[in-house]
């Protein structure tokens, strides 16, 4: 758990589906790492590539974009978002940031298990990325 607590994971959630989804997890009093920070947006398509890169610069360890997927109310937004995420991956590689530290997924208003699973996986990815980096350094 100690490992997890010095980790900062940013969850980008949507007003229509994954933010209420995070609330459902709370209403069920389930447990996950306190190193998770949830922000809500109308749609994650608003963020440019530079936003993600700035987050990593500032010390965010992992970002999970919890989109509305097929429930997305905005025309073409999901397609644009996934195309943008693909470009962020390219920039991450160029800057030596492990791509597993970014994940685009879909979370609905009652996806409790999926929500927790994404956080757990991201924690594993971050630890792995740290270990890999140390390995390289060593």
């Amino acid at each position: 758990m100690g490992d997890h607590n010095n980790m900062k994971i940013l969850l980008i959630t949507t007003m229509i589906s994954s933010y209420p989804g995070a609330n459902t997890v709370g209403q069920a009093h389930l447990h996950y790492s306190p190193g998770t920070y949830i922000i809500r947006v109308p749609d994650p398509v608003v963020f440019p590539e530079s936003f993600y890169m700035r987050c990593y610069e500032k010390g965010i360890d992992g970002i999970i974009i919890m989109s509305s997927g097929s429930d997305c109310p905005y025309e073409g937004a999901y397609r644009r978002l996934s195309e943008r995420v693909a470009r962020v991956y390219v920039q991450m590689k160029e800057n030596g940031i492990d791509p597993s530290r970014l994940k685009l997924t879909t979370i609905c208003t009652v996806c409790k298990a999926a929500f927790l699973k994404e956080i757990n996986e991201m924690q594993k990815n971050i630890l792995q990325a740290r270990a890999d980096k140390e390995g390289v350094a060593a």
Binding site: G26, H31, P34, D43, P48, R80
Partner: protein
Amino acid sequence: MEEEKNTQSEENESEEIRVGVYVCHCGGNISDVVDTKAVVEALKKNPNVKIAKDFVFMCSDPGQKLIIDDIIENNINRIVVSACSPTLHETTFRKALTRAGLNPYLYEHVNIREQDSWVHKGENEAATAKAIRLTAAGVEKIARQDPLEPIVVNAEGHVVVIGGGVAGMRAALALIKRGLGVTLIEKGDRLGGRALELDRVYPTEEKASDIVSQLENAVRAEKIDVRLNCEIELIEGFVGNFDVQIRGKDSKIDKVRAGAIVLATGFDHYQPYEGEFGYGKSPIVVTLPEFNKLIADMPQSDKFTYKGKDIKNLAFIHCVGSRQMEGVHQPQADGRVNDYCSRVCCTATLHTINKTLDKFPNLNIFDLYKDIRTYGHGHEDYYEKASKRGVTFFRYTDDSIPEYAPSSNGSGATLTMKDVLTWNEEVSIPADMIVLATGMVPRDISNLVGMLKLPTGTDRFLQEVHPKLRPVELANNGIMIAGTCQGPMDITESCAAAGASAAKVSILLSKKTIEMDPYVARVDEAKCDGCKLCLAECEYKGALFMAESYAHVNPALCVGCGACVAVCPPRAINIAGWTLDQFDGMIDAISMEELEPATVPA
């Protein structure tokens, strides 16, 4: 309006940011895990925060009073409450701001219950650190927030209904009774649409002509502006303010201004291609609408004569032009097959079969079907009655579509198929006449679809925003749909859809103006360098455009998705209330190592 905005932001620059932070205990729900006092102490060190307090129940009247008093007495001009989820009490606190005379959008609600204390039990220290960072993020966000006002556009109290069939008339009547002006536009020379083709309708057995005249008389009795022989030349504008140009028979153009538009453009019958089950090649093969017309005025008789010939065996084939499969059926003009069910044809066919047997009880009737879909009120009775009256049912599949062969003497035909119901036995059905239960296709409204960029589905019918959330609205704000332009439906269903569209129009036009959320794109014209990158991102016609070398937003058409925001190099375009600078400030607060808040200038 632009000038107003400028003065506002100037005012803001001169105004000192004075944030009040309030941390709720939620009666222990938060404070048992999160050290609320520590949160308050940490936030007090933030240069933008002038007051920080904690309280047992912020949502209670005394809690709200704390905020109101601080706004009035201590000149607090931004509020952050860290408590439960904003879905519960964001509106509660916004109202409190309004009561204190502060713009309600200068409020940020931070969730430290559902997304902190409830999910981090036993990790009190970490949960407290998280609450501090989240609250600080709320402060950073609200410190960068301007006052917002709802977007207000004029709402013309007049509606244009396009299509004078049952659905169009029904919508027009509902709307005029709501006190709105209505122009009803019909392409043909009379009202009634496809219902004029019908004799009696299931399940009430009313005369379709009675339904039409009942509606038409009501339309004539009200002050509905009916335009027969008219078509749409052009529609411009946006919700609340459409300019509709109507072209009359004499090609004269007339203009009508409308707050909303209801599309009730209806359907066409599927037209079988030449040779489809012998259609067009043999006179004994007709469509169901053709057959209904044929027998409508025939008297009862023990003999059914058609084109001088006694008809003894009559076959009906279901799903002609519907439920088609790729690779099995011939594609339509656009290369697609009609893979949808036309909904009404099963009951319509069985209704016709019963009517036919009423008139000609000696006929042998064969019914070739895939599934019998008599789903609605009273529909099943027609199926049961037909079975009892000796109609022979054969079930075919896409692997064994009935094959049509004209008989050697040229007067009849044989339909050959494998009957699924009798162990795939090959059966030959002799038919003196064949009736094809043709489905529905949408009326050709390509001019409107192109002009307004109306969304259509793969079935070519108009596509609602969401079948359950917004079933009678198009993505085009202010444009509703009623009836079969959306998909196959019967008269009852079309009238219900018309009523639902009328409700949506009434909501929209219930006041003289339409108020919309302010969360739409805004352009900082001083920053915009006119690169036009944003234009390609916008999916909403007319929402974003260039004028005088910088980008402009029509707030009535923008939905606030933010697709344009991400591609603007100088960050000149932002969603009001959700700017990238606000998010940067939040990330700074979240990522701060020490829990002393960073001094980020707003």
